[in-house]
Amino acid sequence: MKASIKYIFFIAFVIVAHSCINNTEEPMFTDSFDRSEMLEFWANDIIIPGYTDYVSKLAELDEAATDFYGDSSDLSLSTLRETWLDAYKVWQAVSLFEIGKAEEIGLRNFTNIYPANIDLITENINSGASNLDLPSNFVSQGFPALDYMLYGSGSNDAVIAYLLQEEVKNYTQALITRLRDLSSSVLEDWMTGYKDEFISNNGSSGTASTDKMVNDFLFHYERFLRAAKVGIPAGVFSGNTEAELVEGRYSQIYSKELFESGFTAVQAFFNGQSYDGQKQGSSLKQYLDKIHLDNSTDLDYSESIIAQWDSAERALEDINNNFGAQVIEDNSKMLALYDELQKAVVLLKVDMLQALNIQVDFVDADGD
């Protein structure tokens, strides 16, 4: 019996040692579907090129602003607006990667929360010194605030006159600088270490990169694409159409284009298309297809998801470039687009998550 007590203590030791081991990093993942390969492709071919482009587009925006303030004219205003739109569209493609540094600093909140609050913007302009780090200032900065400043005053002459006021000039430049600083810090973080961390966290727990990224992806799709760009203006959550809540409210004509940029990026991410469009890589689609093949069932999830998004693309075709005008003229078309986007949510959040065994959020509570 003495021996068996020793035995029990040995077992107890093993249990303790085992739980200690369990707390360390997840070991390498070597499934026949290689999550590392997918993470690598995401990082190297989608995320980092996306942020690189975004950072350079913001530099162009900054340059156009400098040019405009050096020589203000219809032409330099138009260049400024174009570079703003270009950067805004690239933002749509990186908005879904709210992970790592972007998540830490709340990049999306400081970049694209709309509608912008005009009173707050005016107050900030007049006071000259406002702390843009504050959450209360989400709605007075980023692209929506620039949208107001570049378009909100009406005619070109009026906009130019507005922008040339000293305080407005300072604020415009402050907003652009802030976008540049935020985006550079995220890109830099990816380049200096976070990429390796992201790729090596290749396990299958709730905190592994794949699980987190998929959750971020779905959150972005549901909330910032489906709801913010389409559902909310169409009154899905309030019962009343709210044209004034569209993205790009003051420029008016870009709401569809901005949506398309975001939607294209979502599909490219799912399909594993590189940022430059030149390469196909490991993706959620491939992952689903692999499981489909292994289980030799007729549950072809990726095909259903792609078909559903194709329906959404078709619903988008006969919608006005100005979502705001569309909502007022014929909201049923916006609602139809919303429905198609919504149907994909079920396929993504129910079928895909189950097939890939990804937990629906990062709840780390126990199960049994």
Binding site: I5, D31, S32, F237, K349, A355, D364
Partner: protein
């Protein structure tokens, strides 16, 4: 028969196994509660959500705000007292009440092993676990007993047996045995596990684990009862539970089952163990071995046996209630909880609530994240009673905002064990017209096998 029962009830055994169980149970509970607090779950699971899901009949149990921390602290203190055996009766009653209260605050966090903890704590109220090797018995030698009635230890074994056997019987279903589901879904991406990881996406392994798990659950108690197979059975217990611990995020459950199975070991084994622990504390264990036997008074014995008989009768019948309902109980979840259905299914859902003014026809959809935590959304979307309760909460909320003629419908989809997602709750039913009861929930659409 009468005589045999009487003889059995008068058979005594060493109190050591019960004392060991008390110590380990208290210790595990202290660790569990500290772990829960340390992980930030008190805030995340109880304080942050605006709304909590209630068990039928327990809607009066509410989260006491910041006092929840005190509740956990008190519960942990009681667990500590149980472990050392100080003020035992107060401690074990206090632990049972505080722990159960915590569990009743929100059924989102329901786990079978929390339920088991409540049941074991309830049992311990009636067992004299403090009469041997405890601070109580050390301070007042007159209450110390070396022997106790055998049935008092057997009660713990019976509880363990019920858990295992019902868990095993629940595995005897088509998905588990024929399809190796949901284990194949869970295991196939677990290839990162050392040594055996490479096997994790092999389908024969999924079947081995499924069938092995079912056989283990149904038979382990018998192998533990028989002294000749006990050591082997206990090794199996360790392997099984540590394997589940390694593969799945199941918290303290494996450890609870491991200490519960220790009770099956001989009293000689437990005496040695206590002797060893006493040695570490430089206490003469022999002080606790005074040869006395705990003899409960006739009245106390009758009352206790009566309560435990009713308790076990309920334990035997309650898990079977799902058979009173038609339909696949994994899909409808009627009678699913409190039935030792452990790790039996993978279910994912999505529920989109539509609020309608029945007179004007005006309608809008609800963004669930405005009202529920991610964890609550996940649990709500696959369980009909959650969906009903949430719909009523939404109804009250929108009524208070001035909405009239309210109707609430849900467009919901769920996927069970790898099947394609399908409509879950009847989208035509106004959820405000339904109350949560134990009656069959006819608004659950039938599971369509595909």
């Amino acid at each position: 028969m009468q005589a045999q029962i009487s003889t059995y009830l008068n058979t005594d055994t060493k109190a050591a196994p019960l004392a060991v169980f008390r110590i380990l149970f208290g210790l595990l509970m202290v660790i569990s509660l500290i772990r829960f607090w340390y992980n930030g779950w008190i805030e995340k699971l109880y304080l942050l959500p605006h709304f909590h899901f209630h068990y039928l009949g327990f809607s009066w149990v509410t989260v006491p705000g910041k006092w929840t921390y005190l509740l956990f602290a008190v519960c942990g203190l009681f667990a500590l007292l149980i472990m050392v055996g100080l003020k035992y009766r107060i401690a074990v009653i206090g632990f049972f009440l505080s722990f159960t209260y915590i569990e009743l605050m929100d059924k989102t966090t329901y786990l079978n092993h929390y339920y088991l903890v409540s049941l074991l704590a309830f049992l311990l109220i009636f067992l004299p676990a403090h009469r041997h090797f405890s601070v109580d018995a050390y301070r007042d030698k007159s209450i110390n007993r070396e022997y106790i009635p055998k049935w008092q230890i057997d009660a713990l074994k019976l509880m363990t047996a019920i858990v295992y056997i019902y868990a095993g019987l629940a595995k005897l279903n088509y998905d588990w045995l024929v399809e190796a589901l949901p284990l194949s879904i869970w295991l196939r991406d677990k290839t990162a596990i050392p040594i055996i990881g490479t096997l994790m996406d092999e389908s024969w392994l999924h079947y081995l684990f499924s069938w092995g798990g079912a056989v283990y659950d149904m038979s382990i108690v018998f192998f533990l009862l028989w002294s000749r197979t006990r050591i082997m059975a206990f090794i199996a217990v360790l392997c099984f539970h540590l394997m589940t611990k390694l593969l799945f995020p199941i918290g303290m459950f494996p450890y609870i089952m491991i200490i519960a199975t220790l009770v099956f070991f001989s009293s000689a084994f437990h005496s040695r163990l206590l002797n060893f622990i006493a040695g570490l504390m430089k206490l003469p264990y022999t002080d606790f071995c005074n040869g006395l036997t705990y003899k409960p008074t006739q009245l106390y014995k009758k009352v206790t046996l009566g309560i435990l008989s009713i308790f076990f009768m309920i334990q035997l019948l309650f898990p079977l209630r799902s058979y009173l309902y038609t339909g696949n109980s994994f899909w409808t979840e009627q009678g699913y909880r409190f039935s030792w259905r452990v790790m039996l299914m993978e279910k994912t859902g999505y529920a989109n609530f539509k609020v309608v003014d029945s007179v004007s026809g005006k309608r809008f959809y609800v963004q669930n994240e405005d009202f529920l935590s991610a964890f609550q959304q996940k649990q709500m979307s696959t369980q009909p009673d959650f969906i009903i309760e949430y719909a009523h909460y939404l109804g009250d909320h929108f009524k208070s905002q001035g909405h009239e003629n309210l109707q609430i419908f849900v467009e919901s989809y769920a996927s069970l064990n790898g099947r394609r997602s399908q409509a879950y709750i009847d989208p035509e039913v106004d959820l405000l017209s339904i109350e949560n009861t134990l009656k069959p929930k006819s608004f659950i659409l039938p599971l369509n096998e595909n």
